[in-house]
Subunit: 455 residues, 2 copies
Amino acid sequence: MTPLSPTDQLFLWLEKRQQPMHVGGLQLFSFPEGAPDDYVARLAGQLREQSVVTPPFNQHLDYRLGQPVWVEDKHLDLEHHFRFEALPTPGRIRELLSFVSAEHSHLMDRERPLWEVHLIEGLKDRQFALYTKVHHSLVDGISAMRMATRMLSPDPDQRDLPPIWALPPRVSGGGEDGGGSLVRSIRHLLGESGRQLGTVPTVARELLKTVNEARKDPAYRSIFHAPRSMLNQKITGSRRFAAQSWSLSRIKAVCHAYGTTVNDVVTAMCASALRTYLMNQDALPDKPLIAMVPVSLRKDDSTGGNHVGVILANLHTDENDPEKRLIRIHEGMQAAKDRYAHMSPEEILNYTALTLAPAAFHLLTGMAPAWQTFNVVISNVPGPDGTRYWNGAKLEGLYPVSIAMDRLALNMTLTSYNNQVEFGLIGCRRTLPSLQRMLDYLDDSLTELEAAAGL
Amino acid sequence: MTPLSPTDQLFLWLEKRQQPMHVGGLQLFSFPEGAPDDYVARLAGQLREQSVVTPPFNQHLDYRLGQPVWVEDKHLDLEHHFRFEALPTPGRIRELLSFVSAEHSHLMDRERPLWEVHLIEGLKDRQFALYTKVHHSLVDGISAMRMATRMLSPDPDQRDLPPIWALPPRVSGGGEDGGGSLVRSIRHLLGESGRQLGTVPTVARELLKTVNEARKDPAYRSIFHAPRSMLNQKITGSRRFAAQSWSLSRIKAVCHAYGTTVNDVVTAMCASALRTYLMNQDALPDKPLIAMVPVSLRKDDSTGGNHVGVILANLHTDENDPEKRLIRIHEGMQAAKDRYAHMSPEEILNYTALTLAPAAFHLLTGMAPAWQTFNVVISNVPGPDGTRYWNGAKLEGLYPVSIAMDRLALNMTLTSYNNQVEFGLIGCRRTLPSLQRMLDYLDDSLTELEAAAGL
C-alpha cells in the first residue's frame, strides 16, 4: 500500500469527463523477417500468457481513511488491460490514427490498475502497432517513454522481451521527471502546504494570491503576454490524434544553414503550422502566439535540484517570412536560456512555477483567468538512440500521445528515434476542427525553410 | 429547441463514470448474394456519404437558463458518430462480443448528439455487424429497437434503405414506451411535483417517504422480499456483454410439453442459468432470487393509460428440480397477471412504481436501502416478425445491449426475431466474473427441460 503523492492526487482531481488525464504512446513495428502472415494473432496469444504483472501495473486506486492509496489488485483481469484489436480496411496510418483518436478519448476504469495496452493488427505492409495508455497519476509521460524503451532491444535477434506490464521493476524508480509540468508547478508554489494539499478551493485560492503578487513584480511581468486564441477555449471529450515522422537529417541541414538548434527548427515548424492552420480558420491573433516549451537545464557540474525549466517561446506567428520567423524564434530561445543561466535554482523554480500557474489555476477552478501566459504546449521528449527491436520486430516509429486540457486544446509532443523526429499532436476534435491538416502544414514549413536555404 | 422531459433529465443525472446510461443494439448480418469480398469497406464508404442526419440524431444537449434542452448540432461531425471498425483474428462471435463489451463501457461525449453507430468488419463466414449506441435520454430502449427495425425491409431486393441516423422522422413520435422503467416510476410516485423535478436530494427524500409508508401497507408488503446477492453490489465501469440466439421452435416445444408460455420458459432458462452461475461462485442465496419482469398489460378494450406493469417473478432458485422450477415460475407469473387483471389503472401504476422505488432511491442517492425488491431485470422486448434485410444483407440476429446499474449488476434483455429468441446479457465485469459462462448455462437449462419432457 502506497499513498499517492499530492502531485499524483492532483491528476485525479483534474480529471473530468471531457478532460481525461492519461498519457499514451503509439509504437509502430514491422514484422520480423520471415514471420508468418498471422504473426500478430500469434503474438496476441503469447501476450495473453504474460499474466504476471509487475509494479506499478498491478496497483489500483483505493481509499484508506479518505486518502487515496495504491494497493495491489488481487483480481487483476489481464483481458481488461491487454486488448487485441484490428484496423478496418484499408489499414493505412489514417485508420490507425482514427483508432488512437477514439481510444484516447475514453476514460479508464478507476476500479482497476490505470493502464491499457492495445495490440493492433490489420495495418498494411506487414506492420502492426502498440498503443499504450497510462494514467498520469500512475506514470508520468517521461517515465512512460522510458518504460516503453526498456522493453525494446538494439539486438534484432533478442527474444523473450516482456511487454511493458511484465517488465522487471526498476530499482531507482521514477518520481524525478523534473518540472515543466502544470501540476508540479502548483506544488512548488504552495511549498510545504502543497505537501498536505487540502481541498481544491484552498489550493486555487493560494495559487491566485501568489500569481497576483507576481503580476505586480517587474521580474515576472513579461510572463503575462499571450494573446487570446481558439486554442484557449474550453474543450470537449473527443480527441483527434495526428502523428508523423520527419527525417532528422533534413532538419539538421536546416539547422546548419541558419545556425540554429534542432529544437529551434522544430519549434519553427510548429509555429508555421499553427500560423497556417489559424489563418485557414480565420482565427490568427494579431499578437504572436506563445508556446510553453519545457527545457532541460542540467549542467555538468550541478548536483541535485530541479533540472527542467520552461521557456515561454514567442512563436512570431505575426511574421510572414519563414526565415525571419525561424531566426527570431532562435534568438528568443537563446535569450531565455541565457536568462536561465544567470538564475539560481530557487529563481528557476519560481519562474517556472509562476509561468505555469495561471493555466494551473484555470484547471483547478474552471475559471478563465484574465491573463494567459501561453497558448500551446510544445514538448520535446528524448527518445532512444539507434534502431530498436521487440522480439525481432523492428520499431519503425514511436509517437507520444499527450493530454489536451481546458484552455490548452492542443498539445504538440515530439520525440526522436533512429534519425527521425516524431511528432504527436493531440487536440480537442471540436475546438480544433480538421486538426490533422497540421501534419501537411508541418511538412510545408520544413520544405519552405529548405527551399529558402537553397537545400 | 426542445426542453428535456423530467424523465430524460433523470437519465443524465443518474449517469456517472462507472454507470453509463446508454442502451445499445447489436445486429448481425450476412453479406448479400454475390457481394464482393470488400463489401463492408464499400458499405462504410456509402454510409460516410449519408451526411443528412435526421431528428433525434441531429440534436445535442445544451443549457438555457440552467435547464437542459435539445438543440440542433450545427457542426455535426459524422466521422465522430459513424465509425468503421474491425475485429481481430480469428473474427469469431467471441471477438465481436469483446468489442461490444469494451465499447459499451465508454461514456459518450455530451457536447455532441448522444449516439454512435459502429460498422464492424472482420467477422468470419461473410458476416458483418452493426453496434448502435444511443443515450437513454435521447431514445428509450423500445424506441431504439423500433428504429433499428424501421431501417430494415422484409424484401431482400430493396435498396436505398438509409442508416438509422438518416431515417425519415416519424410523425407519431415515441414517448409512450410505457412503464417498467426505474425512472418513470420515480416520476409517477412524485406525481405533479415530478414534472418540475428539483434537485436529486429533494426527489430522493420524497421517494423515501412514499416507500416507507408503503412498507406499512399490507397491500404492498409482499414487494420487499428479495434476498441480498452478489448481483446487488456496487458496480465498476467495465462491462461484459454476452449474447446468443435460441430456436423459438425448441422453446415452444417445451411450452407445449408443460403448458406454459414462452415467457415462462425463457424466465426459467434465466433462473436456471443464474442458479448455476451463483452456485459456481459459491454465492447462491438460500432464499430464491426475485426478477423484475416488465409485462404488457394492454387489453383490447382499454383506451389510453399505462399499459406496462412489472411482475416480481420468484425465480425459485432454491429449487433443485428444473421441471418443478419451471412450473412454479409459471404459476407465479400467472398469479401476478391475475392480480393485475383485477387492478384499476391507478392501482397498477402505484404497484409498479412502488416495486421499482427502492432501486430508484438507491440510484439517486448511492445509499443501499435496507430492503431489496428484486435482484435482476429480465426484460423481453418485441422484435420484428419474419426475416429482415438491409439493402440485401440478411439480418441473422439482433441482440439488445441494456444498462447495468449499481445494485443491479446484471440485465438480461431478450427479443425475438425470425423464429429465434435472442438473449443479450450485460453486466459489470468485475462484480460478475466470467459472466459469459451464463450462455452455456442458458443452453444447459433448455436441454435439461427438453430431456425431462422427453423431447
